[in-house]
Symmetry: D3
Amino acid sequence: MTNKANMPWEERHEGCSDVMWRYSQNPVIGRYDIPSSNSIFNSAVVPFEDGFAGVFRCDNKAVQMNIFAGFSKDGINWEINHEPIEMVAGNTEMIESDYKYDPRVCWIEDRYWITWCNGYHGPTIGIAYTFDFKTFHQCENAFLPFNRNGVLFPEKIDGKYAMLSRPSDNGHTPFGDIYISYSPDMKYWGEHRCVMKVADFTDSAWQCTKIGAGSVPIRTEEGWLMFYHGVINTCNGFRYSMGAALLDLENPDKVLYRSKPYLLAPAAPYELAGDVPNVVFPCAALTEDNKVAVYYGAADTVVGMAFGYVDEIIDFLKKNSL
Amino acid sequence: MTNKANMPWEERHEGCSDVMWRYSQNPVIGRYDIPSSNSIFNSAVVPFEDGFAGVFRCDNKAVQMNIFAGFSKDGINWEINHEPIEMVAGNTEMIESDYKYDPRVCWIEDRYWITWCNGYHGPTIGIAYTFDFKTFHQCENAFLPFNRNGVLFPEKIDGKYAMLSRPSDNGHTPFGDIYISYSPDMKYWGEHRCVMKVADFTDSAWQCTKIGAGSVPIRTEEGWLMFYHGVINTCNGFRYSMGAALLDLENPDKVLYRSKPYLLAPAAPYELAGDVPNVVFPCAALTEDNKVAVYYGAADTVVGMAFGYVDEIIDFLKKNSL
Amino acid sequence: MTNKANMPWEERHEGCSDVMWRYSQNPVIGRYDIPSSNSIFNSAVVPFEDGFAGVFRCDNKAVQMNIFAGFSKDGINWEINHEPIEMVAGNTEMIESDYKYDPRVCWIEDRYWITWCNGYHGPTIGIAYTFDFKTFHQCENAFLPFNRNGVLFPEKIDGKYAMLSRPSDNGHTPFGDIYISYSPDMKYWGEHRCVMKVADFTDSAWQCTKIGAGSVPIRTEEGWLMFYHGVINTCNGFRYSMGAALLDLENPDKVLYRSKPYLLAPAAPYELAGDVPNVVFPCAALTEDNKVAVYYGAADTVVGMAFGYVDEIIDFLKKNSL
Amino acid sequence: MTNKANMPWEERHEGCSDVMWRYSQNPVIGRYDIPSSNSIFNSAVVPFEDGFAGVFRCDNKAVQMNIFAGFSKDGINWEINHEPIEMVAGNTEMIESDYKYDPRVCWIEDRYWITWCNGYHGPTIGIAYTFDFKTFHQCENAFLPFNRNGVLFPEKIDGKYAMLSRPSDNGHTPFGDIYISYSPDMKYWGEHRCVMKVADFTDSAWQCTKIGAGSVPIRTEEGWLMFYHGVINTCNGFRYSMGAALLDLENPDKVLYRSKPYLLAPAAPYELAGDVPNVVFPCAALTEDNKVAVYYGAADTVVGMAFGYVDEIIDFLKKNSL
Amino acid sequence: MTNKANMPWEERHEGCSDVMWRYSQNPVIGRYDIPSSNSIFNSAVVPFEDGFAGVFRCDNKAVQMNIFAGFSKDGINWEINHEPIEMVAGNTEMIESDYKYDPRVCWIEDRYWITWCNGYHGPTIGIAYTFDFKTFHQCENAFLPFNRNGVLFPEKIDGKYAMLSRPSDNGHTPFGDIYISYSPDMKYWGEHRCVMKVADFTDSAWQCTKIGAGSVPIRTEEGWLMFYHGVINTCNGFRYSMGAALLDLENPDKVLYRSKPYLLAPAAPYELAGDVPNVVFPCAALTEDNKVAVYYGAADTVVGMAFGYVDEIIDFLKKNSL
Amino acid sequence: MTNKANMPWEERHEGCSDVMWRYSQNPVIGRYDIPSSNSIFNSAVVPFEDGFAGVFRCDNKAVQMNIFAGFSKDGINWEINHEPIEMVAGNTEMIESDYKYDPRVCWIEDRYWITWCNGYHGPTIGIAYTFDFKTFHQCENAFLPFNRNGVLFPEKIDGKYAMLSRPSDNGHTPFGDIYISYSPDMKYWGEHRCVMKVADFTDSAWQCTKIGAGSVPIRTEEGWLMFYHGVINTCNGFRYSMGAALLDLENPDKVLYRSKPYLLAPAAPYELAGDVPNVVFPCAALTEDNKVAVYYGAADTVVGMAFGYVDEIIDFLKKNSL
């Protein structure tokens, strides 16, 4: 999964003392970047060959939700296919899908695994794999509806695949915690454990309504570093911000540290206004040496990037843990 | 109803491939364009004498909703009266009105008919006629409460007046379909038929919560061309977009084609922010030769315009029908 | 419409000082009185030939709502058809109906008119006429959805048919007032006026949530006597009780008197328990000399009767008017 | 699993033409039948040794929900343990449980499997096995929260365990359909398929809000016979009734027939009044020759029984299928 | 406040092992016991002269809520005045009251104090005093709206009056805890402290939605014994049960013991059915030697009584404390 | 409380005819003006020594709400402490506080009194005093929960302290009126009176959902001038605007005049977008000669200022009173 391309990066702006900072050229992907799109957001990228590949959520102008493959040399300028991904059968013939959204991409051992919110009598977690971002093999849905934000770990843990997810309901779910589940074979799932719950309103209100896993966890010496979103329900609707957690390497249902303050919250114009105002929604992170670049959906309309140093982020988590 | 003034028009911008496009000088009417106003939006215009006349929704700074007459030579620069329309009795003495909003104007045979959302123990459809935009004769309300978005056809159909409307409830109605009703005399109404219902979420989500007729239907060879609004309920509130439908000339309760993608959705700054963010709400259309100019309320705050070619729009409907 | 049969009657029980009292043999119609039924309630009866006829709401065991004709010699023992009414076209070919419930029956001039809550894209008021309770001619729905409790006056008023109704929404409507509408021809309706609104909670809480017309108004020298239901929303659901109003003979949108105390409220076992506990829902009244017999649905399960003297009821209204 | 005891039985009452009928001595278990109980309902029984055993939902007087073992010689007179079941570890050490309710019991191959609604950060499906109804081995929860009404098939299907369940949310779920999932080992579950959805209101309103599996499916020559509950949301709350479905023997996600009319709905006094009025909730069925005895919770307070003939029920399903 | 009449009493029924038991002649007051009443419930009684006096909530047949004085020789057979209490000015001229309900009566030093839920722009706590149950002097409302269930202590504590109450909102409040407030003069109140909150659903579900003080606390050697109501929100509405708590004599915001199981919950027919099914709502307790008699509203319709021994109740609290 | 500093001021802009106008350099306090802050808004300032002091609501990046002291020479450039105020005991030892927000500051006689929304088992009104803005003495909460927007009068009235407040519930309260309460000692409160209620939707919709006191009332010859906020519930959430009222000097529960049109409503970019779009929320006013400067929170994110002349505002109220 390593490649020779340098990951996108921009240094901390002068005068900025935040742990993570926005890319000055945000948004990196605009709402109309493919002809059919109404909005492109909540998308995932990974190193691929001599550059990067990604799976993108592009809602079309009928506001149908689907996922599209895309490619980039530098992680910033993207060529996104104009047609959505068409699945072929993987470990199942049942590849029904009313809609697909909020993809994540995870390299495990020999292939890229895609997870997304899959419409099968309501939202649940769809799974597919690809070797080349051209042919995608759809597998059994991981869970019964209703579920969202399924995020795989990049390695088997104790010999089993591991996935974070957020059980939900069939609407604009006003609750939600992060769980982990295990599978010997990417087909049957069990050993479900609660990992992280919403915070008390008085402790950390930005994550008191619901939380959901964001990026594929990054292995560090101190634990799995995972960016996630937290939601507060204001009198004018939901506000989505980004935090991070450090999970135990061997027992990832054990949270070592978790950000009490957010790392990034809606404040830039493209985060404050759009199809759904006040949304910062991380779905992927690239890492190289000590640097990390997070891709996040902004206002359910465009894609932005934010940067940071892994050690600084972990240090911040330790000093500001919930 | 024809006049010698040219309708307002601006060609498609270079590089734009959309079927309809915004006027570059939007908004054409600002929120404070009359002294008392808090906002001016959801308004209707027609050719009149050597220019244009209109009926405008101007909410005042007490946020009372009322309708005002206005006049323009070019359809873009408007003189709106500073006092709301005062009605005189038409075919009834009962001209109670707690509030008036979202007017439409329709020329039929010998006069201009105004329809609007009229407050009579809740919202229903008010009707009035005028010959000169000075004296307005208020008639019986068309329906029992609760109803909104009453839009007349510009000709009698099978000898009867015809009106589209959207039965509602007494609040921020979270549902709504378009019906047609007929009247021999603009006083008694019946023969109610369902014309168009909301779309399935998976087919066309921008119009899956409620829809309502917008502009007076335009007669074309292929059918009545009608712009309408559709609404999706996001986790941060309702988002209103614009589509179009082609109704059968003789049996207008029969939908020939209907836009699966929207034609215009909130994306410009004056549509994304305002008293009610994320609203595009068409209320009138001017047409001349093959050109059409739609007037729409933006963010419940100002009035914008969008343009298109009738044949292109119809062609688009045929190719992208729900 | 007169007949030779005596209307059902039972004198006021000893020790009872209520204005109206229950029949001691209640319920007169049981929930399983036809083989397919789950419940029989909210039904209407009229004098017919040498006895009585009625139209009955019988929900079947799939809990589909439909209306059935029935016949009785004495108004108490009923033969209800085992098959629902099948309509033939009256003044329209459009006789779609997803469901039918809560019928009323009204003799006007030369025939019996049936009104009911008709499922046409939601509840609205269906209309049909019959001469013999065998063939029923379905006419245009009176109104757009959403409406319930349509009740005709037994005479034209100022040359027009008149109907009370209650505009509603598409669910368990938590609001509702009584309006009147007029029609020259039973096809087109207009001149809608608000007649009675819910009471203030502090004045008469049993009718503070919604009200709806019940029985066909009875002409008396002092006005139209009409039994209606009122609803209070308790912390355990809706409770339906019965009151009465006296409407002006010539301008029936004018309420002369209206019961501040209820006349009958759920207290008997068959009213307190059943498919919907705590419901008394009047749909018809027989009258003869000074006596009146009201048929009411109880707990959405069975039919009960209550009796009273017209002059006493009017006297009570005068002394206890809201 | 067979035994020598005769299953409880009472013939159809004279004059009764219903497909299924209540036991005349209902309720068979009273609300206070053990000292600590507030209510005993929604319980499951199976043949065991020379009589019957069961697992009973007994809410105590703190209204804590738990499950208790019980024994009977005749299936009607029960000795229920005064202490709830204490679990030992089965295929997991994680046997947390905030509460347990609505048990089902299913014999598969060599042991009895218990499934129930298990409180683990919300309701999900708990699993345990026992050989003797004394020692119970708790296994991994089958699914992520939120889920209720997990019901096992009494045989492996295509080599795998199969379970029906109803994905839910974290409150008084106002929606719910029946799904099937498979497991090679009672630990990891997958291949989730939608089996039955709620009915349209106009087709079969008693099951239009939510449905859930009830009894362990009974193998018949024509398919798996399964009793289930359906719910309608009246203006005074939920009403639970009982229907039945016939599922394909080899592909049980295929519904062959399904009752459009209910088989049993709340009408007896102990069903109409209690902690939750208007509930009939089947959890178990005994069968012998052609006879079937269903145990159902009534009004969330007591346990009742209903009887029928398997062939008549299947015949009824065929003739009255949704 | 002592008197010579014996308090009403009935021994524990044979075979009954409950801590508290119902009076076998319940209900002691019927819904129609005065001519105007729709229901009589949630009422308070005290020893008075050579018998007992009480203040009764009698909703009339307009379902207006008001309080009435009544008298009894034996505490069981009551003469309730047919006219509601008319207040005269106490420590204020502002004796507005839209409605009065749920009274409590408390003897302190030299007079009887009445508290009730008083309608002043919403529910709040009304206060009045009387010497004779003939003239009642209304004082300042204790608190701002919205509040219910104000219950005084029968002695000053640390020189100040003390009152329990339950802050609420303006509807069918779905939350509610018990607070204490102090006053030097029955006019100004402060030092508000939280006393008891709702229980966790998993610990004691019958009191997990809201709780409210019931009877005037009884001084015992071990603390203030107070009966209260607790509420669970079932899928068919609220269910009200009765528990008890023992508060510290000197610091009554300190709860010494509190019943985890309820002491009385709806199970008798007159508690399960009525205007609001499933309500047991204690408002007063008489005590003599070791005996206690609780008066409680049943189903918001009638008044029932329950008996117990103080020492047994306290013993039960100690052994079954939350 | 007087000082020598000039209050901040900017003349009415040319061409502006509004009664009040925004400061051209708005916002005067940015969201990140102290290192820990997520947002700074809804804050109060007063003259202090040779400049100004204030108490500021700074939500930190964990979105915990707290209040901070700050100082300024000119009322525009502020130094806000980086640590929140730590309270010492005032007239109580009970100084629990889960959170603090929306402070007001009021000089009475010899000291500054701070009121704020204090988290004690829900929102209520906290009180503290300070002489120097360094040491703050916390007193008893004024009221039981739930309450917000407590605003003191700057003088005793009839010998008693007086406070406006808005009883609320425990969430995003969808209702709310302004009351007044009195206290002899800042510890016990009573004599609660309703001052102002929300307006009818048809009269003044911007204040039809809830209203709350804003600034400390300013004594003028004609009455107490008080700025307040009003809220309308649009289909996309709450919109907060500013009005003013003139209260009787001696009986301040008597409203002399009250603005029917708003004085300031969200229209500037920093009011339309932010953490909670469309909020203008006044918390303080400085006055000098005839000039007034209002400090208001904008979009729950920053602080803005607006100016006006007292006599013009009073004149406007008289001419445009509700």
